[in-house]
């Protein structure tokens, strides 16, 4: 039915167009209006004013956008280096808006001001070295400033000092989930390779490596506030990208190599929730969700849960069908809470041992199902 409507609308549109053009043609019969499809003085007038109007549109739309959508953008960075990024971003935005404001005015105003008239002659103005020097040198100087500051910040952010006291954490990506491995007391991650993947050891940690003995594998990452976190990032299958927008942090996950990123969180999760901007944002989102829930309930579906803020790790490199839902919660704790959390976790080595010993019934079931999987995998290899 809708498609029929669409087709009818399209046909009507075509007919309307045809009639409109015919009417334009008819109005021009007998008059001495030039019908060569070249712009006439009247066209130039109308189009010139429209250009001026378009300038107004751009300005109004920009200002409207800044007020309406401005509050939606990421605010208050949650990491130490984030302030540096946002500062550079703000400087760049000021420059961009100045240049944009000036050039769009000139372009559209000139298009309006110098709209053509028959018999008028334009100014022959072919070149002027001084002017061209000005608009080569000014951007060059401004950009030099931006580049220098940008490179300074980039170097600070990206070059990780190996001697610095950090918390080493591995982020592990696979279709379509994240896992993290905390380096434990020795703060060194054990060696790993996909060839060691077996049973509960889903990250392929080399359990023979002494550094691996205290590694902790978790599916919800906790990190302490006020300490630099050194992320070592791996992927087991395709490219992913570890994106933590609130921390202004992102790094691709590349199968076959370990990539790195480091930052220092400066707000715990509960502190960040209390930021005025975040309270407002969450209230706004919940208002939207309540409205949506009402519609859902009316349709007999379940309502949406209310939203509370959490830091997230998102996948930001297309990685397959469920790319859009590959996420992990990150919790920033106070150092004390972090220690407490760490204590509650079981190290991977223990988990592997527990899985291997056929003690409780559930564990045995798990091991069994794993075995089945393994045989399936082997038979596949054989068939190949």
């Amino acid at each position: 039915m809708t498609s029929l409507l669409v087709i009818i609308v399209l046909v009507l549109l075509a007919v309307a167009l045809w009639q409109l053009t015919k009417i334009f043609d008819l109005t021009q019969v007998g008059s001495n209006v030039d019908s060569s499809e070249v712009a006439t003085d009247k066209d130039n007038d109308i189009q010139g004013y429209l250009m001026f109007g378009f300038l107004a549109f751009i300005y109004i739309f920009t200002i409207y956008g800044l007020f309406t959508w401005g509050p939606l953008v990421l605010h208050t960075p949650a990491s130490a280096h984030g302030g540096e990024i946002d500062f550079l971003m703000n400087i760049t935005w000021v420059l961009i808006f100045i240049v944009q404001a000036i050039t769009q005015v000139l372009l559209h105003y000139f298009a309006f001001k110098y709209r053509g008239k028959q018999g008028q002659k334009a100014l022959f103005f072919a070149d002027n070295n001084k002017l061209e020097a000005i608009w080569s040198v000014i951007p060059a100087v401004v950009l030099a400033g931006l580049i220098l500051y940008g490179l300074y910040a980039w170097t600070n952010i990206m070059f990780i000092d190996e001697d610095e006291d950090t918390v080493v954490v591995e982020l592990y990506a696979q279709q379509f989930k994240w896992t993290a491995r905390v380096a434990g007391e020795d703060n060194v991650l054990g060696k790993a390779n996909v060839r060691y993947i077996e049973g509960v050891n889903t990250l392929g940690v080399d359990l023979a490596d002494p550094y691996a003995q205290d590694d902790i594998v978790v599916s919800e990452l906790h990190i302490p506030k006020g300490k630099k976190i050194h992320f070592k990032i791996r992927s087991q299958d395709v490219l992913h990208s570890a994106y933590m927008p609130h921390f202004r942090a992102q790094m691709n996950c590349v199968p076959g190599m370990v990539t790195e990123f480091a930052f220092e969180p400066i707000y715990t999760t509960s502190e960040y929730r209390e930021l005025p901007y975040m309270i407002e944002k969450v209230a706004n989102i919940n208002a939207i969700r309540t409205k949506k829930s009402a519609a859902l309930v009316a349709k007999g579906e379940t309502a949406l849960d209310p939203y509370t803020f959490d830091y997230l790790l998102l996948c930001n490199k297309i990685c397959g069908s469920s790319h859009y839902n590959m996420q992990m919660k990150i919790v920033v704790d106070t150092p004390e809470d972090y220690k407490a959390w760490l204590k509650e976790q079981t190290v991977l080595a223990e988990q592997v041992k527990a899985a291997a010993t056929p003690a409780p019934v559930e564990g045995a079931m798990e091991a069994d199902s794993l075995k089945v999987k393994e045989t399936a995998a082997t038979s596949k290899v054989v068939m190949k």
Partner: protein, 592 residues
Amino acid sequence: MSAEVHDHEHHHKDTFITKYIFSIDHKMIAKQYLITGIIMGVIGVGMSLLFRMQLAWPEESFRIFNILLGDKWAPNGVMTNDIYLSLVTIHGTIMVFFVLTAGLSGTFSNLLIPLQIGARDMASGFMNMVSYWLFFLSSVIMIGSLFVESGPANAGWTIYPPLSALPQSISGSGLGMTLWLVSMAIFIASSLMGSLNYIVTVINLRTKGMSMTRLPLTIWAFFVTAIIGVVSFPVLLSAALLLIFDRSFGTSFFLSDIYIAGEVLHYQGGSPVLFEHLFWFLGHPEVYIVILPALGITSEIIATNSRKPIFGYRAMIMSIIAIAFLSTIVWGHHMFISGMNPFLGSVFTFTTLLIAIPSAVKAFNYITTLWKGNLQLNPAMLFSIGLVSTFITGGLTGIILGDSTLDINVHDTYFVVAHFHLVMGISALYGMFAGVYHWFPRMFGRMLNKNLGYVHFWVTAICAYGVFFPMHFIGLAGLPRRYYTNTAFPLFDDLQNVNVLITVFALVGGAFQLVFLYNFFSSIFYGKKAVMNPWKSNTLEWTAPVEHIHGNWPGEIPEVHRWPYDYSNPNHDVDFVPQNVPMKPGEEVLHH
């Protein structure tokens, strides 16, 4: 040469096949490119409207999805995530390569190079024909890939392995990806043949008096674009071939240490980052392959319709060359966070931001050309001014993305999508539209309806900003691109209204392209008959008869005596002096 052409005309009568299908006449080949490009454009834009609907009203049922995508990909009218990614992937591929590379360069380089430099045809008419038919074949294969059982390629238009290499990782990486690669390999062969032809023709076949510094800027743009193409397309071809090797013959150029679907694969020692380097070594110059011809077209149209010389002709040439050179050493800015050494990131930031200088020169020169002009605001001129506007708006945000530090947080978000659509997508499309409105009389001997052109421009201009301006904000809010829906993240719930607004603008803008299509196809048959030089332009193509003939000019090829921008020259009474008008005795050259 001219005697030969006469012989040709007397002895062979063109059959339908040699005239319209396997033609070796550059003007016919240009039309073939244009019409194929328009058809591909309709498909590419149509796809974007479908996935925009999904983004605005996620997982809602639309009858149209079911009709167009079928039961498998849109059961009950709900678009599946796999086909969503396919649509995104094929939309990108079609728009970048098939519409804005072949459709734009193929059309206007073919039409204008011989006509504007005063040549009878391309250096090799046969190669030109083969180039078009390879392009056609690659288009057919690309469209054919939409119909395979496992679905078309859906690893993104950048087809990064391992996703594109392993059929286990995504459905489209089976036969769909094979066809994608085959299609692109043929496309590249076509593009190389075209480019070599353009280069040879510009170097060897310029008419008497047509020195390089008297070439119209269109030709300079096409010439330099062809050089970039020849330098960078083979690299993509090699990347595609290596990927085919990895996919089919078990090599490990791009793959290493992979565990997928419960088993460890044998690949060892390759790196996906290598693919990214190879891909972007073409991928970035490709942006300029798309935009430079559009800028060349705009230069010509703005000068003609301002009735003024283009401001800073030599600076414009220098900036084209500078952009072309820099374009080959900036590819790494797509890879700041790919895991490559951060030091490389600093180098690429430096070279990338340098491109802003020649780009700024171009923008300011356009604006100065308008100053004190006598602007003829034809649809072609409106699209050219529109191009300058979107080129500036889109280009400025490049300062953010080119800066490695700032790229960290906006990389792969909608901010990037907004940026490149404005600066290369919309701008290049405007250039293409401007070119069509301007040279339609030269191509088809008839005029496009100007009032429909005005309607087309204004609705498109408003919708283009309406779509891409708000998109910057959702990118800055951290929304990643290529998400099938944002509903998995309550964090992004407040962006949904913006997504709806964007989609509404996109649908309206898309619908109004029908005005253009109607105008285009009806004017081919029913448009007003064109005169020889409707826009009172200086370049040589307007000295050839309206009716197309082999060899372009019936008699001698015109000789060139001046540069192409003698508009409103104070030494002359009329406001234009075509290039073939001899200098008056004692007339001075008034430009550098």
